[in-house]
């Protein structure tokens, strides 16, 4: 799964790069494009090694803070804690996702058609901007999720 993601991102990176080379970038790059370039560069950088840096760093954060409830395979705990596999919350709006990590979550929430009613503690006092960004980039490239690249500045803005 991860490998296919990396291939897709690398292809994307090549596409973007070739666009730039043919002088097709008269107008300023949009925020979206910047982010895509960032993730592509980040993934490309480490194409020679096993995984991009954020994958390892993000996984460390996940194992330390999230795994206890969401579990090693991301499947959660039935009836208690929702899965993070193929999650709309992870692949969806970035600001909302950052907000959930920083402020936590409480009360009924429906994930993949199932209602959960637990508490996720806020992480704003536990994780710094880099750690949140690494975690989210890891999650968006794991467990069948996807989504735009998250930068530490995006997290800082939401604090």
């Amino acid at each position: 799964m991860k490998i296919s993601k990396i291939i897709i991102f690398s292809m994307l990176a090549v596409l973007i790069a070739s666009c730039n080379n043919t002088g097709n970038s008269n107008k300023d790059k949009t925020e979206e494009e910047k982010k895509e370039t960032a993730v592509a560069e980040s993934l490309q950088q480490s194409a020679s090694t096993d995984e991009p840096d954020f994958m390892e760093a993000g996984k460390k954060v996940y194992n330390r803070v999230c795994l206890v409830c969401h579990q090693e395979d991301g499947s959660g705990v039935p009836n208690m804690y929702p899965p993070v596999i193929e999650s709309d919350y992870i692949s969806g709006n970035t600001d909302s996702l950052i907000y959930i990590i920083l402020e936590g979550m409480k009360g009924p929430v429906v994930v993949k058609g199932v209602e959960y009613n637990s508490i996720m503690p806020p992480q704003k006092g536990v994780l710094d901007d880099h750690e949140v960004a690494d975690l989210l980039n890891y999650l968006r490239n794991s467990f069948g999720n996807s989504g735009e690249f998250v930068k530490p500045e995006d997290v800082a803005e939401m604090r």
């Binding site: 499947s75 009836n79 508490i119």
Partner: protein, 432 residues
């Protein structure tokens, strides 16, 4: 034309339902001999014991009870066909349910038949349905036995036990892991005194025959310091309440300097409690360390993993099971079908852990504890195993089945239900 076909179908349905309701349950005590499944329904049992699958895929089971006529009632964690209780009947005498019906508006956990009523413990109240002889699904509205419990996200199940003197004992779980100022947050200290003990983290006693009671007006705090008791029962032999408590989570996650992940996987004990009126148990100030065999001060209250001195006096458990195994139902065996050594001993359903991660998850079995009088007379042992269907379980979702509820039929068979898919096993002893 359409209307007419509809009418015909409707009347056919009505006729069919009349026929169905006339199907009587067959109690297999009689001449009918049960044929166990060759693989015992996928579970592993001690020699001489066999099992057959009563039903499968009927919804995520919680607690279960069996009526005198063999009808089975199982509370559901989630609504199934919009209903919260499954009712099952075997009309052919082979022990397998051929009628499954659903009723009840709420999902829940508690389930016990008492004095012609089916008592049901939902998340916010205890209800009861009047059972009519021979009728599988009650046709009346339920009565509210108790309501008015605090709103809570964590540990909100309201399972219960009923004694022989007209009392019902209801679990009101703690709304937190360890009464920290900020729930499940690293570095947050424990509150002292823990305000959650006032109306939660204990067992409240009510009248089993009165309706519309509330916790504040009619409840009596029978015992305190119990984090959450999904497994609770009244022992008719010794006339006592017994609870197997869910111990706290996340020792190494919040206190990595004091606990290793290995220690967190084993600690603290799931405490087996003999509950007397006015008993005060460990939560939240202490936990029981079953390896050291002593009560230890909780790290949120200044504990260091070994220190025992703390703010209040609390009672020890009668036994400590390994951590996080999630004891979710308990029953004292007072039947005659099983061999002598099982009489008056306790069967306990362990739902299986989630808080042993990153180590592999454990539990997913039914344990047996031999008893003599009020106390265990020997070590606990695994009675029924292999519910998970695999050697290594890394997360609870990977378990194929998780034993959740246990009950005894009139013939002394043991019924165990599962919370993953809704499978029910009937365990019998064959004397040969």
């Amino acid at each position: 034309m359409v209307r007419i076909t509809e009418k015909i179908i409707m009347s056919l349905l009505i006729t069919m339902s009349v026929f169905l309701t006339q199907c009587n349950p067959k109690d297999n005590d009689s001449e009918n001999r049960l044929t166990p499944d060759e693989d015992n329904g996928g579970i592993k049992l001690p020699g001489g014991f066999k099992a057959l699958v009563v039903a499968d895929d009927i919804g995520r089971g919680r607690h279960i009870d069996v009526n005198d006529n063999g009808d089975i009632y199982m509370a559901l964690r989630r609504l199934e066909n919009g209903k919260g209780i499954a009712a099952l009947r075997d009309t052919t005498g082979d022990g397998r349910a051929d009628i499954v019906r659903y009723f009840g508006e709420y999902p829940g956990t508690g389930m016990e038949i008492y004095n012609g009523y089916l008592y049901f413990g939902g998340d916010t109240m205890v209800l009861r349905y009047k059972l009519s002889p021979g009728q599988l699904v009650p046709d009346n509205e339920p009565e509210i036995v108790v309501s008015g419990f605090p709103d809570q996200n964590q540990h909100r199940d309201k399972p219960f036990a009923i004694d022989n003197a007209g009392n019902i004992y209801v679990n009101v779980g703690a709304p937190s892991n360890a009464c920290m100022e900020q729930t499940r947050t690293m570095g947050s200290p424990g509150m002292y005194p823990c305000p959650q003990l006032e109306r939660q983290a204990g067992i409240w006693k009510f009248s089993v025959d009165s309706i519309n009671q509330t916790q504040v007006d009619d409840g009596y705090r029978y015992a305190s310091g119990i984090r959450n008791s999904i497994a609770l029962t009244w022992s008719d032999v010794t006339d006592n309440l017994y609870v197997v408590m869910h111990g706290r989570d996340q020792l190494s996650q919040f206190y990595p300097d004091l606990y290793t992940e290995e220690q967190n996987a084993e600690l603290p004990a799931e405490e087996f409690l003999l509950v007397k009126e006015g008993s005060v148990f460990s939560w939240p100030y202490y936990y029981y360390d079953q390896i050291k065999g002593k009560m230890v001060l909780a790290p949120e209250y200044g504990g260091d993993g070994d220190k025992t001195e703390g703010p209040v006096e609390v009672e020890d458990p009668v036994m400590g099971f390994p951590g996080h195994l999630a004891p979710n139902d308990i029953m004292f065996y007072d039947g005659v079908q099983f061999p002598e050594r099982y009489r008056n001993g306790a069967f306990i359903c362990f739902h299986g852990s989630w808080n042993r991660a990153p180590l592999e998850q454990e539990g997913f079995f039914v344990a047996f504890v031999p008893f003599s009088g009020e106390l265990p007379s020997g070590e606990w042992e695994i009675f029924a195993d292999d519910f998970a269907g695999k050697e290594v379980v890394r997360s609870p979702s990977q378990a194929e089945h998780r034993p959740m509820g246990i009950a005894m039929g009139t013939d002394g068979s043991l019924y165990v239900c599962d919370s993953q898919k809704g499978k029910i096993w009937r365990i019998i002893y064959e004397d040969k």
